[in-house]
Subunit: 253 residues, 2 copies
């Protein structure tokens, strides 16, 4: 049995499937894909994932992509490892409800602000010919559009809409954490890992104006519970090649 995990910095999608690997104690070969050098669009990587996106799980040569899919796959393929999906059908449904909420109503909105502050700076520092060449290597039309928009700048209306959606999510999560210890019930699940990786871990740092500590105290307490888990702490130590001044998600800014 051999697992390889192709990933970038330990945050967002790359962190989201790294945490379950660590939680389950699964040995894997870590392969860093340098997004700063656009390796995710390079021939060698597109041969592995034709969509040109990280992360990717390679299990004995079988390629699994998309973090929510990878994480359920790890549950199915390694049933004897620590479960992160409840084994009762209702618990699994609660987990999937939250995974869907994060995937469809949180991830892209935090991502837009991150791209605005990080990828936009990078994209505007590339000369036009090189940028066109770069775009031509991006397999997914949506990703080509996102790169173009990052270079020209996301509109204020879109950034405000994304911020409003994050407010909605924070209030929804805060309410849930008043009812259950973790998002999907009394157990720590893939839903917690999902929200943590895409929003919970960085929301306070990215959006100081939301005054998260005062407005969402249960979320802050929950975040500390996630951060201090040994597997999460271990994952967060993974390589980060982002220039410190551009670390909009992971720290200094």
């Amino acid at each position: 049995m051999a697992l390889k995990y192709y990933h970038a910095e330990p945050l967002a999608n790359s962190l989201k499937s790294m945490i379950p690997l660590k939680e389950k104690g699964l040995a894997y070969e870590s392969i860093y894909v340098d997004l700063h050098k656009f390796e995710q669009h390079s021939d060698w990587f597109v041969a592995i994932n034709p969509e040109g996106q990280v992360p990717v799980l390679d299990h004995d040569g079988t390629i699994i992509t998309h973090t929510t899919v990878i994480n359920e796959y790890l549950e199915d393929a390694f049933p004897d490892a620590l479960p992160l999906r409840p084994r009762d059908p209702v618990g699994a449904a609660r987990m999937r409800y939250w995974n869907k909420f994060v995937d469809e109503h949180v991830m892209n909105h935090v991502s837009m602000h991150g791209w605005h502050r990080l990828v936009g700076v990078i994209a505007r520092n590339i000369d036009e010919g090189t940028f066109e060449e770069l775009l031509s290597h991006i397999p997914l039309p949506d990703q080509r559009k996102k790169w173009s928009t990052a270079r020209s700048g996301f509109s204020e209306a879109d950034l405000q809409n994304a911020s409003d959606k994050i407010d909605y999510a924070l209030a929804k999560i805060e309410k849930q954490l008043g009812e259950t210890a973790w998002l999907a019930g009394n157990d720590y699940t893939l839903a917690d890992i999902n929200f943590y990786s895409h929003c919970g871990m960085m929301v306070e740092r990215m959006f100081p104006e939301k005054d998260v500590a005062a407005n969402y105290p249960r979320l802050v307490e929950w975040r500390e519970r996630v951060t201090t888990r040994p597997a999460v702490a271990e994952a967060l130590k993974a390589e980060d090649r982002t220039a410190p001044g551009l670390r909009t998600w992971s720290g200094d800014r």
Copy 2:
């Protein structure tokens, strides 16, 4: 064991979880929710699903919402019934990859065109005071916004973008059906039911300009295979109270 299924017309989300119930031969009480009378926003229904959306599955009093979640729940809760999710981990991952694609890159785009042609007509026929009153009963902010936009009209740019995304999906599906008999491999799964319910069953009728028969022959052949399944044929016979002239998804227009 008692199952209740709250649903509207047999298409899109309401069809998507009705087909698995029929395929699995699970007895259930069918409860029709009349969207034309905005019953989904009424007090009695919001008490069942605070998000004010159909369909809803009630299993012995436990409420499950969101069709992709409901459909996986039926797999987990009734493991002895006909499986619609592959039992091998890789097959399940393939199915979830396609479910995610349909949920995130197909459903909303077909839906926008349907809303434009159906809900827009309905919304514009409501006087302003009544419309404001209607909006005030919609629990989800996204749905309130969608109703407002349906009344004022979706922009040409948004409708074109949605149409482009459907073109992308059709080409992707056609390619896949050249490699495997069904979307996720050699078995009919929840992924086929998902794409069928949200797009495959109505794409030719809704978008005659795409010349689906000529451009996507494998998709047409696949659609016939789905349509003629006894469980699907049975589901399609469910009640349809939409005025015939407004049946943009399900038929006459």
